[in-house]
Amino acid sequence: MSKHSVIVGAITLVFAFVVSVHAKTARVGDIVIEQAWARATTPSAKTGATYLVVRNSGSEPDSIPSLETPVASHTVAHQTRQEGSVSRMSEASPLNVPPGGALEMKPGGTHIMLMDLKSGLKLGQQFPLTITFEKAGKVEVPVKVGKPGALGPE
């Protein structure tokens, strides 16, 4: 193998890694955020839901005291609970991320509620979400908008 092909190979690997990280995950300290997605809404909708997975590879618990996005006036962590046939939604701040564990959001459970949307969320659209971790600090993740009734990232 020539020196040249080794260099090309190494550059390709680094590039592939950078691209894959950018496409799927964001990292800050010991925290990795995966698969941020939202559901499309009607053009006049005032609320929307965003879901993501946060992994904490560190040995300390962390938490999310605040969330921000330019598409909504305010953004709150919510929890849906099913009690018998009744569905209830309540605030879930601050969200905790256990050490060596994950915070997994999904429809019917924990979600990020976008309130007072400035305009509806369109299928295929992407918007930034800034997540502030108590210990790891701030990170901005891209959120991809999927189908209105999507059950996971597409």
Partner: protein
């Protein structure tokens, strides 16, 4: 030595037989008590909204009264358009069920009845339900009329204030299947494949 080992083995085997028998019995009980809901239909009881006198509006602004529950099979979901987590899951399940029914979907009327009439106008209901399937009909109305309708349909709802000054609604999230007399015959469960839901509706179409 050999004898005592054989005895032990026999004891072990009988214990195993006993455990298996108990497990199978328990499992049969659990499965059979679940069966009417999971696979088929319940016997018709009293029509919902019997003797009730409310007047709602469908998404086109036309009147919707208890009589409209006695014209066709009805699949009804309760919710509100400011609900971004649970309601879209239910409505896309209804949309997938209609898809699975194929042309037989014409025999059932899918309704989305709001528990939040103050914010959900007929236009907003139309726009919201069309996001999932244009065949789903949004139903709203004057707050007192919606309250009367929900009461006669056995639906719970409660306004819950939020820190930002807004509010959300706790509500019954059951998906109800009514026959052409307005009698509840089954519920749909989002944890089941939409084909199962389509099967329940087909069964009811055959019986009607």
């Amino acid at each position: 030595m050999l004898m005592s080992n054989l005895k032990k083995l026999r004891f072990l085997l009988w214990t195993l037989v006993g455990m298996v028998t108990i497990s199978v019995t328990l499992l049969t009980l659990v499965v059979s008590s679940d069966e009417p809901r999971r696979e088929g239909l319940v016997e018709p009881g009293r029509p919902m909204a019997e003797g009730a006198d409310w007047r709602l509006l469908d998404e086109t602004g036309s009147a919707f009264t208890p009589d409209d529950l006695r014209a066709k099979l009805t699949l009804v979901v309760f919710g509100f358009t400011h609900c971004p987590d649970v309601c879209p899951t239910s409505l896309s399940y209804v949309a997938n069920t209609l898809q699975a029914l194929g042309p037989q979907a014409e025999s059932v009327r899918p309704l989305f009845v709001t528990v939040d009439p103050k914010r959900d106008t007929a236009n907003i209901m139309a726009e919201y339900t069309d996001l999932f399937d244009p065949r789903i009909v949004g139903v709203t109305g004057a707050p007192d009329q919606v309250a009367a309708a929900l009461k006669s349909l056995g639906v719970y709802s409660r306004k819950v204030p939020q820190d930002d000054g807004g509010y959300t609604m706790d509500h019954t999230a059951t998906m109800l299947l009514l026959d052409d007399q307005g009698r509840p015959r089954s519920t749909l469960d989002i944890h089941e494949a939409p084909e199962i839901a389509a099967g329940k509706i087909r069964l009811l179409i055959e019986k009607s």
